[in-house]
Symmetry: D2
Subunit: 277 residues, 4 copies
């Protein structure tokens, strides 16, 4: 069995390691011992063929990102554990990381489409959890707008149908409208700036809800922004207008760390398997 | 317009009052002023034809139950506001209350079937919120057991289908199995003591999960008990065995107070309407 | 193994027999040989402890109802095959049948609640099949009215949600509205005589759609009546007005005979099991 | 208002014309008069700016494809009705058609992605209608395999979930599995040649079910092939083995002609709108 090193990260990386431990001899470094879940132990000997780094892999000072470790861990600490032909898996790989691991193959698991697709479900569940926590009314019967019918919009629509929400998708064009119809969801054109919804999920990473658009919604409307930076809602205007906005970052790692870790594990398995190793 | 008095209670009673304010002249008493939501103001004059008391209506010392009031309110305080032919609406009416309001008609809104039916949806949503908060994995793909296919079991099944959970209903007999089939849900007989589920919702108010039954589940299983007292899970044994159990009391008032209050309001409207007034 | 006789009926009775053949020694009579499905053979010897008769059990001339038999079968023909303590299972038992089988215990499987509940799903599937066949537009996006939220209304709502139909339930009172909400379906009061739907399923056995009500719908509306006699649609007026009405009798036997037969078999098993035999 | 000519085709083209008649002055040619639905009349004067030809546009003898016309219509007949700058819309345009309409702009509405997406829903509904008609058991509880999680597979999964079918998607890779999970559907790898299903929908246009694969299924299994030519099921082997296979061609035109026609109309509207006319 090949050796694999989990080097830093949050609970996702630990659960990723636990999932991989059937197929690899897994070591863990960069975590306080009391953080380790059952079935994962720190081990210190042997050179590893594979290393898994977190998302993002480095912190601001250029060390490995170790939010679950009271100490700190340098890139050299990691390299000491690597076999000469080691392959590095990390999330959101940048040039700095490639330079620091010069000579090693560095692969980005966050760029894999199956990971994005798989993450859509736990992300949508986390977003619905936020909605349930923040709203004083039921999702049943609530008029919900989902902006964007991509992966996350699709997953949201599926879940919200079960709640009996009154769902509308905001889409850009005829193709988007057709995708919504495929899921049994009615749609409006984003440009028509729909309003009159009690709950809005944005999944599109461009500025959809500026001051003018926001001002057409009531103050009871809850906005949940799921778009990656810079997000799709003008937060400053929202604050001035007294609108309720949640910028839901860190999903799905926060709300479903086990599933998020297992998705990383399965993606890495696929990446290794495609290498023919 | 007839006068109606909201006398004590929690946010539900306030939202109930807000909902009724289109149809009645609503006064509020037994709340700190800063608790009052927009659209509801305390008023002190005039004798009321109807009064709405909370669930349960009295506290341990025999005063009106006023969890949102820093002072206290006696039954006499309420009576002073009542017209001679006033009708009292309260939740979980008992003999003590009837005695204290002797001479008035006292009706229980919690005993109305449409209220129980309507409460099932916000209760189920609250239960799913708990599951999302407590579980480190997604509901999607989780094996879920719903014990009982009554109102709440039905509402849970509808919601969880949207999540893509793998749902089984535990039912007592052929009729229960048929009800589950009606919702497209497979079923097992409760007596066969099913196990091997990641999440269990109990809705049946009799001791289903004693020590022996609990011990057949893994420690990763989350139990959420929605049954009214005494509940269906042996909490002492669960604690000894290290099982995760949430006894979800206070739903739906806690998680969806606006909806819960509006359901009370609609029920009271129906009760008044049936009196032909 | 006890002997059980399938005496007359349609394909349902044959599939019922096939299902029971693991648990009983099944004989068949009152069918042309070429109607018999695989796994069922006609046998002629031995006295039977149980006999299954069809729905209804007798034809107009007082013989056993044998639509799949080119000959005819009298009650005496059946009696000749019965043990002295035989139990007769039949559907829609009337006094005539009880008289003809005087001295035997006669039980009605159609009166069992689990059978009605179980039949709701195949009945609803058959009704949806009719809608798909008759309508030149998709169910997706069609405005559908379901009159009645009982067993069949519930099963219809579940199926039609999957199609992305725009479903409204017509209900009589607050309780019905609450039942609809439980399934995530909006509702209107039957008395308000809703109109403007492309497809209407009636499940209520009382005259809901008289001439005046029908005339408020467009001629493109398809009405499917699932109520037992006398039905809920004034067929004469519908014809005069040129409305499209399908009175869907014979479901689920016609559209899902295997399932319908197995439901009868399971019901008879339960009835025998409850006798403690 | 611009003039638009519907030239030949089936009911879809007529309903397409009816839908376009609000926005264009629509003429119809190549249909027997008694085929024309309400709201569509044959007109013969004036040169048309747009012409809509059927799918495929030509018959075997090189005339326009006119299955609803007892006469025949040549390409010259159509040209006589065209303005010099006319635009031709047709389905499955080939070189022959381009040559015959040399000098005119010829566009293919069947190649538009929004049309394929929109057609998925009526195609899936038609396929489910076939399943309901052919199967003697309910879809509820039936083990269903959907091969391919593209547009049609997605639409099928949505519908069949409502029926309470036990759905599995057969997918090629991790991305397909992730797409299935997005819809809350479990999946298997196509290569593992899944078997043991009562109903199989194939949507993939490559030979998935050869003799060997087919022979692993029982004879009660119903196969419905929705893939375009050459289809994904070896029909000759299926026949030899006595398997039940329906090759569902002509969907959605046959089962939902109004919807199919309206989808063509909306697509043509989009195509014209994108031209900036």
């Amino acid at each position: 069995m090949e050796k694999l090193l989990i080097a830093g990260g949050d609970m996702r990386q630990l659960y990723c390691g636990r999932r991989l431990s059937g197929k690899f001899e897994v070591s863990v470094t960069g975590f306080d011992v009391d953080m380790l879940p059952d079935g994962i132990a720190e081990e210190n000997d042997g050179k590893c063929r594979y290393a898994v780094l977190p998302v993002p892999p480095l912190d601001e000072s250029g060390n490995v990102n170790t939010p679950c470790f009271s100490g700190s861990m340098t890139v050299s600490d990691v390299k000491r554990r690597l076999a000469p032909d080691a392959v590095i898996f990390a999330g959101r790989v940048n040039d700095e990381l490639r330079l620091l691991f010069d000579g090693y193959e560095v692969l980005d698991y966050m760029e894999r489409e199956e990971l994005s697709l798989r993450n859509a479900v736990p992300t949508a569940e986390g977003a619905v959890q936020i909605a349930l926590e923040e709203m004083p009314v039921t999702l049943s019967g609530t008029k919900v707008l989902i902006v964007g019918m991509g992966r996350i919009g699709t997953a949201l629509a599926e879940i919200l149908k079960g709640f009996g929400a009154d769902i509308t998708a905001a889409v850009r064009n005829a193709k988007g409208a057709a995708k919504a119809a495929l899921l049994g969801v009615k749609s409006v054109c984003t440009k028509e700036m729909p309003h009159g919804y009690g709950l809005v999920f944005n999944t599109v990473p461009s500025m959809i809800f500026g001051r003018e658009e926001l001002s057409r919604f009531g103050k009871d409307t809850l906005f949940i922004d799921l778009a990656s930076k810079p997000g799709g809602i003008d937060l400053a205007s929202a604050q001035e207008l007294g609108m309720k906005v949640v910028w839901a970052l860190g999903l799905p790692g926060k709300t479903a760390p086990v599933t998020a870790g297992e998705i990383i594990a399965e993606t890495i398995k696929n990446m290794i398997s495609e290498r023919g190793e």
